[in-house]
Amino acid sequence: MRDLLPKTAPPTSDKRWRIVDTAMRRNGYAPDGLIETLHSIQETFGYLDEPSMRYVASSLRVPLGKVYGVATFYHHFQLKPQGEHSCVVCLGTACYIKGSSNLLEAVRKRFGIRSGETTPNNKLSLLTARCVGSCSLAPVSVLDGQTLPHLSPDQLVEAICALDETEEAAQ
């Protein structure tokens, strides 16, 4: 029956939508594959925007409200474009008692962004995590996927600045 219904076209002609389609196909276009599908969109495009949520809703035949509900319920999903680099400050218990709030403060002072915000030049997004599970290294932050252990506020700011320098050197 499902096959007979007209197929929804992806929001753009971007070839990367195939990755998303594959994720949906793997779950047989079943509504319970919704979270997996949203994961694949975020992995591919970096965030979830309205057209992508509409596309998922019509492909999996679930109400748009449900897609939006799920996307906003889970902290992992981002509804805004993210900066080139991401800095995730862990706010788990071990990091907290070792001063992770000072890390956030240092980033705010230097780059003018709070948790969940991106710098105006789109370079850096600051995020927080409930616990990244590296408690023995507290306080930690995850900079572009790399876990930085035993951070002082200055070290974190330095590491973020170093990201840009490596980029400039590569150009």
């Binding site: 319970d32 992992h76 071990a94 709030s101 408690c135 023995s136 876990t147």
Partner: protein
């Protein structure tokens, strides 16, 4: 793969390991990895090649060796020596030590209590096996329990063995695992499911992460045995998105096990089939609650629902569903292999076996430990943990995360088991153990956990949604020096109300950190309220209304 093939694979792998003249095991657990163990592995391989030692020295990447505080760790099998703080530039020194004296690198004393006081059951393979190679797991008796169960035991026998072992749920609540299994086994439904709860959301806990990353096949084997026992043919592993490495390794492990015929249809030539799918969470603490987890696996918002019916009767898609924690499932294979009486013999009368803890905070030996139940907190903190660093004094140990409590010094000699911890107002929890010294303020800690529960509350029931927010406001007033004794009374009243009337475990246990700190550190609250001072100097006393130094 049948038992004979399994044994020949194991023999081949062991032979190959024995044939390696010199095996270096580099810890690639998260702790050591961020201290540079990945680059160390590269450097060791590179230098060994340059020195023409390629055939003689084998560098293997293994899971967590435990003592994260001193990473990167390298174990040299030939000389039976463990080295600590081996940064990548010390690769040459390690290779030098193979032929002569070790110079420039620090030997880690394996006779220290951190190692000798542990009893590794779930973590038995951590530090030995290469997680991406199934052969490596098989060589250490992997999948032997599964094949034994399929060939020699009926499902009822398996349930009886687990019941006899006295294993209790390691996710925190401590529900007897055997009883849960028998409920699902007896339940009727068109299909049954086994779900592994890998949504380790407690801040300060990373046991499950280690098990899934370092020994993923152990989890799969436990799930397959559970599925056989309860009559399920399909399972899900629910892992948090924050653990990308665990996700990758579990995916690899599932496909390797399928290729070897240890998962999939007609396992080991029997009529038993079992497949496993991976579901990735998306950052919601409440999904650790079993009914919320079920909602999330089905692609919905992770909100809990009232129980009964329990998932054992009506879980995924209304079918009987067995939900066990990673560590619980990780204990299954050893219990089958070594026998239920052996496992029941470890620990105390009511809490059997071992428990993995993550020792963190103000403690010298931070890391991952596995100890028999009934060990005292003092032994964990001062013997295994090495005490408080920098001349600090012990103040409290926090167990159970946002659902647990802070245990003061006077209970340090209490045995660690489910009942004792509950008596002093905390819980076993999933295994985070955060040690605090005099620099931590208990009001601030309570406020930290309340902020956590407030933002992680799913919002379905009012006591939790509104209650946690109100309690957070009151705690903030206390922490900023604006509170009076009425606020304190109101806080206590709210604790009671939220605990008694919330829908799920998150809300019911959210007041615990407040209740336990009020019970043992009331003088600190009073100092904040009456004198307007924070004894530890942490809270932003007398700050302007609504403005705190915590971002």
């Amino acid at each position: 793969m049948n038992l004979d093939e399994l044994e020949s694979t194991a023999a081949r792998e062991r032979e190959q390991c024995a044939g390696q003249k010199c095996r270096l095991r580099v810890c690639t657990g998260t702790g050591c990895a961020s201290a540079g163990s990945d680059r160390l592995t590269e450097a060791l391989r590179q230098r060994a090649k340059e020195r023409g030692l390629e055939g003689e020295v084998t560098v293997t990447e293994v899971g967590c060796l435990g003592l994260c505080a001193e990473g990167p760790l390298v174990k040299v099998d030939a000389t039976d020596t463990l080295y600590q703080n081996v940064t990548p530039n010390l690769a040459d020194n390690v290779l030098d030590s193979l032929t002569g004296e070790a110079a420039g690198i620090t030997v880690c004393n394996e006779k220290q209590p951190f190692f000798t006081r542990q009893n590794r059951v779930v973590l038995e393979n951590a530090g030995y096996i290469e997680s991406d190679r199934i052969e490596s797991y098989i060589a250490r008796d992997g999948y032997r329990a599964l094949l034994h169960v399929l060939a020699e035991m009926s499902p009822a026998d398996v349930v009886a063995a687990i019941t006899q072992s006295g294993l209790r749920g390691r996710g925190g609540a401590g529900y007897p695992t055997g009883l849960k299994w028998s409920t699902v086994a007896k339940a009727t439904g068109p299909r049954k499911y086994v779900v592994c709860n890998g949504d380790e959301g407690d801040p300060g806990a990373f046991m499950d992460r280690s098990v899934m990353e370092d020994d993923p096949h152990r989890v799969l084997e436990g799930m397959a045995i559970a599925a056989y026992a309860v009559g399920a043919n399909h399972g899900y592993i629910y892992v948090r998105a924050e653990y990308p490495r665990a996700i990758k390794r579990l995916k690899t492990a599932i496909s390797r096990a399928e290729r070897q015929g240890l998962l999939g249809s007609s396992i080991a030539g029997t009529s038993f089939s079992f497949t496993i799918d991976l579901r990735v969470g998306a950052g919601a603490f409440v999904c650790g609650e079993e009914t919320a987890l079920i909602a999330s696996v089905q692609g919905n918002r992770g909100t809990p629902r009232p129980r009964p019916p329990y998932p054992a009767m009506s879980g995924l898609w209304g079918c009987p569903t067995l939900i066990n924690n990673v560590e619980t499932l990780g204990s299954i294979a050893p219990i089958i292999r070594c026998g239920a009486p052996w496992y029941a013999g470890i620990g105390t009368e009511k809490s059997h076996g071992t428990k993995v803890f993550c020792l963190t905070g103000a403690i010298k030996n931070t890391g991952l430990i596995e100890v028999p139940m009934g060990i005292t907190l003092r032994e964990i903190v001062f013997d295994i943990g090495g005490g408080i660093p920098n001349g600090g004094t012990f103040k409290a140990v926090q167990t159970g995360g946002p659902s647990g409590g802070c245990i003061p010094e006077k209970y340090l000699d209490m045995p660690v088991d489910y009942e004792s911890l509950r008596e002093v107002g905390s819980i076993m929890g999933s295994g985070g153990m955060i040690v605090m010294d005099q620099t931590s303020c208990m009001v601030d800690v309570a406020r930290f956990f309340m902020e956590f529960c407030m933002s992680e509350s799913c919002g379905k029931c009012i006591p939790c949604r509104v209650g946690t927010a109100e309690m957070y406001k009151l705690l903030t007033r206390i922490a900023t020096g604006e509170a009076n004794m009425n606020d304190l009374a109101k806080l206590e009243e709210l604790c009671e109300m939220v605990r008694e009337t919330s829908l799920c475990g998150l809300g019911q246990s959210a007041p615990n950190p407040v209740i336990s700190t009020l019970r043992y550190f009331r003088d600190e609250y009073l100092a904040h309220v009456n004198e307007g001072v924070c004894p530890a100097g942490v809270c932003p006393m007398n700050a302007r209304k609504g403005v705190t130094t915590h971002a």
